[in-house]
């Protein structure tokens, strides 16, 4: 998802495609929250995680196996 008008276009089309109803206030909230989340989400999207091994059957009560 991209900032500003690109986000608005995504929002409008995605809400319509998925059949999710949202009034103007809710859309404004969505845009405002996304503006806070966006830098981190873009960082995550663009980070090089290719070499990272999945943690299979992760047990969050313990350190990762191996």
């Amino acid at each position: 998802m991209e900032a500003g008008s690109a986000f608005q276009r995504y929002l409008d089309s995605a809400l319509e495609s998925f059949g999710i109803e949202a009034d103007e206030t809710e859309r404004a909230v969505m845009a405002g929250v996304w503006s806070i989340w966006e830098p981190g989400m873009n960082l995550l999207r663009d980070s090089d995680l290719d070499g990272v091994e999945h943690e299979l059957k992760a047990d969050l009560s313990s350190p990762p196996a191996g």
Partner: protein, 449 residues
Amino acid sequence: MTALDLPLREQAAGIASGEIDAGELLDACLARFEERNPELNAIVATFPDQSREMLEAAPDGPLRGVPVVIKDEWPLPWRAETVGAAAVPGVTTQPGESGPYRALRDAGAVIAGIANMHELGSGSTGNTSVYGAAHNPWDLDRCPGGSSSGPAASVAGGLVSGAIGADGLGSIRYPAAYCGLTGLKPTFGRSAMEGHHIRNTETIVSGPLCRDAADCRLLASAMFGEELGAEERSGLRIGVIRDPFWSDSAPGVREACESALESLRSEVGGDLFEVELPDQDLILPAAVLVAQSEEAAHLTPLNLNALPEELSVLNRGVLKLRGLIPGSLTARGFLARAQARRNLAQLFERIDLLAWPTVPAVAPPLTDPTIELPSGVTSADAGNARQGVIANLTGVPGVNVPVGLDAGLPVGLQLLGAWGQDALLLDAAEALERATDRQFVELRPAAIA
């Protein structure tokens, strides 16, 4: 001072020795609710008949006869949880014997009331709830913290000496910091959780909020179903990640935490190490994505279109936004989690504790939950989450320790330990209390002092 104002452990000892009448203590607790809750809005439901039945049936456990409150996040046999909301998307909550209820009952505790919480557990301030906001006893116009707003306001307001909260993305530690309490986020999976409406959670845990570490140890032991022993620690290796956790905290918060950290280091004869955690900038987005994925199965168009008007517009918007997040981002969030857990495990081979301010600024006003940091003005949620979510993303335990006041409002230092090191965190918290002559855990809001 009445028996109700004593620490949890002294109430329990007094009841066990016969010096305190548990029935009178419960009556005093319910009367205190009547007296103070109209201002605090910390308690959203009471049930004196069931509380008295719990007392009559209380086994001879470590908390026999001691009144506590529990966050509105688990069912009781006589009440379904409401999660501070008019509706929980896709979930119909039911009364039942939740794990925290059983743990408290089996320890002999008496549940005296249900504590308020931030709507759906989705905020760090506690300023939004279907019951209205809970208020911070230190300043009734300020946020008590969230999402365990009611548990924190209850203990800080002197309604009870112990409360059970839940911590999904920092929700015990933030209100503990805002209200000047000790609050433990246990290692994932260690404390009773059965019956929570998010049954597949890998981020949320139950845990205690009390005035000091010894009371937290007692209540945590009940929630763990095993005694957490105390030990005098020495030679602790304390890791400090300066940027952004320290450098982007408000000056008054940073100074109080720096002073406390030096006191702790001196008390335990420890060492401070400046350390780094690779890719730490990925931790916050990864935590948000992993946590939101746990409820995502319910975020169908059918459920999202049925959200009631009584749910805050903020949550209606956020829930609908969550329903649109691409799966690729969430998958990358889980990869980042794997990486963060490995990096943190490597770090904890070299250190015993990590330390930084629990929240980067003191409690903001209920009507304007923003904070001013060196980097600029931001929402309290954004600033708080940056400091706290690593424990939920990776599963490690964390504790907030009260370490002073800034502009008359509590400041908290967060200590994080390796998986299973919950007792170590409480030992360190007690060492810090000793080092500071318990002055910060003995502070009380002026309104109840």
